[in-house]
Amino acid sequence: MDQFLPILLMVVLASAFAIGSFIASKMLGPRSHLHAAKVGPYESGIAPRRELAARFPVRFYLVAMIFVIFDIEVVFLYPFAVMFRQLSTFGLVEMASFAAVVFIAFAYLVSEGALDWGPGKRLGSRAGAPVTRSLNATVRRVARPGTPPSARPPVLVEGASTGSGAGARGLDPVRAGASGPHGEEG
């Protein structure tokens, strides 16, 4: 374990440097009056109104769990890699079958969409509207002005359905020019 000594020394030196830096900074740095705006969390200059939400998307947990599987695979592969010359063909077949099993599980994960981030990429085409944004497509999605709320198709964006025909404002040049209250932008 003699070979371990220099690494231990390095840990000590690096930690001493870091802690010493903190002490030096404490001694050298100025100390000013602390007030609420200074010690508050950064929110672009606005005091936060709510407590910090300690929640984040569940996909991060999922990634962490899948990572554990792969990390274990890597851990198992290291002894094989070190002893590869002695194990030769036997070791190769063993490791290939182990890798195949993990790979099948991985392919299953992928085919379940467990590693896909964000919404489906061609969501628009399946919702009935073409991918490209055209006048007709947008009008069909948000409905024409005057359509009763019950007759409108489901909308993607919250707020686009509020106000009669607000979403179609300015899209149809004829209507935008004709209807007085909606023409303030054009």
């Binding site: 220099p6 740095g29 508050g40 962490a64 070190v82 590869f84 085919s111």
Partner: protein, 392 residues
């Protein structure tokens, strides 16, 4: 064959063969201070090198005031940060907040200590290697460091008690662990070629001949490329720097840090850059081996590290940032299967070309299977989104 002989004869640093005497202590302390100085000077140099090179690539001058042609700018910045107020935000967990920069910095420093800068030297009757430590599990120190630095980032974001650092830290840790598997598999490929975890043995196995003994060629190139991409993502360097995407996160996990805490994170980041470039050189580019003049090993090493560092700067100046789903797709669906396949191909190719061909065809079959799985997975996600859309 050469590699096998080299692996068998390696048993750590020969300076410890006769026990730990006073002379050994002195040698170790000198080496310790030297390695520490190399990292510090390397960081100061790299910060400046990057700023200058990015400036020239963007047709600017870059910093040119402090010292000759501005080369002391990073030193001046570092010293300045000592004289700034160390502020702990009110929502922060005081001790974790202070410990996080230390946790981020120490493993990087430690991992540099296993990098062989040259061959052995003999000073006053003591023969020692030009590397601080040569333990039997040398290369694992690198993986250890990259794993522990995730904690530094995660704790910094969590302990800051603020919104943006938390999001930045969660992103960072997901990104780092996503690329860690690919990183581990490519390092395992090198270990297969060497048969030893000693960094000095890995370097010695690449000696001799003109370049073609280097692992980048012996491993058929692809693992080196995967390793490079994986450490770039691991360090959250551009184009994988979503962690500090200033347009959306206002600075990322170290946003609430000021004064020396920020300086230590900066130090850790650039020390990791220098260290990982040195690891790339050690693992794939032959370490201190050069095409000619083998006696000037350390010089070859420095030249190669500088070349790798330039590639990082070049990438930063050239490539736009990836989107988060692109980042995750690249890590999980491309790099991990590719590195696993390459590990088996390299191992099989080492036994005989028939086995190599079998592994290659098996990998191609797996590739087709995976492409189909990706296609199915995408449809699943789309259908799920569609069902959600249609539900009242």
């Amino acid at each position: 064959m050469l590699a096998a002989v080299a692996a068998a004869s390696y048993n750590g640093d020969p300076v410890f063969a006769k026990g730990i005497t006073l002379g050994v202590w002195i040698i170790e302390l000198v080496k310790l201070v030297a390695v520490f100085a190399i990292i510090m000077v390397g960081v100061l140099f790299m910060v400046m090198y990057e700023r200058k090179a990015v400036a020239y690539l963007g047709n600017r001058w870059g910093p040119n005031r402090a010292g000759p042609k501005g080369w002391l700018q990073s030193l001046a910045d570092g010293l300045k940060l000592f004289f700034k107020e160390a502020l702990v935000p009110e929502g922060a967990d005081r001790w974790v907040y202070r410990a996080a920069p230390v946790i981020a910095m120490v493993p990087v420093m430690v991992s540099f200590s296993v990098i062989p800068i040259g061959d052995t030297v003999t000073v006053a009757g003591y023969t020692t290697r030009l590397q601080l430590a040569d333990p039997p599990w040398g290369i694992l120190v690198m993986l250890m460091a990259s794993s522990i630095s995730v904690y530094g980032v995660m704790l910094a974001g969590w302990a800051s008690g603020s919104k943006y650092p938390l999001i930045g830290a969660v992103r960072a840790s997901a990104q780092m662990i996503s690329y860690e598997a690919a990183l581990g598999l490519t390092v395992a490929t090198v270990v297969v070629l060497t048969g030893s975890l000693h960094t000095s043995a890995i370097v010695a196995a690449q000696h001799g001949g003109v370049l073609y003994h280097w692992n980048v060629f012996r491993a058929y190139g692809l693992p080196a490329a995967i390793f490079f991409v994986a450490i770039t993502a691991e360090m959250t360097r551009p184009p994988f720097d979503l962690v500090e995407a200033e347009e959306e996160l206002a600075g990322g996990y170290n946003m609430e840090y000021s004064s020396i805490g920020f300086a230590l994170f900066y130090l850790a980041e650039y020390a990791a850059l220098v260290t990982n470039s040195a690891f790339f050189v050690t693992l794939f580019l032959g370490g201190p081996d050069g095409p000619y003049w083998h006696t000037i090993g350390p010089l070859w090493f420095v030249i190669k590290v500088l070349a790798v560092l330039y590639v990082y700067v070049w990438i930063r100046a050239t490539l736009p940032r990836l989107r988060y789903d692109q980042l995750m797709d690249l890590g999980w669906k491309k790099l991990i299967p590719a590195s696993l396949a390459m590990l088996l191909i390299v191992a099989a190719g080492h036994i005989s070309w028939r086995w190599g061909l079998a592994a290659l065809s098996g990998s191609l079959f797996a590739f087709i299977l995976l492409s189909r799985a990706i296609e199915v997975g995408r449809t699943q996600v789309e259908e799920g989104a569609q069902a959600e859309l249609e539900s009242p």
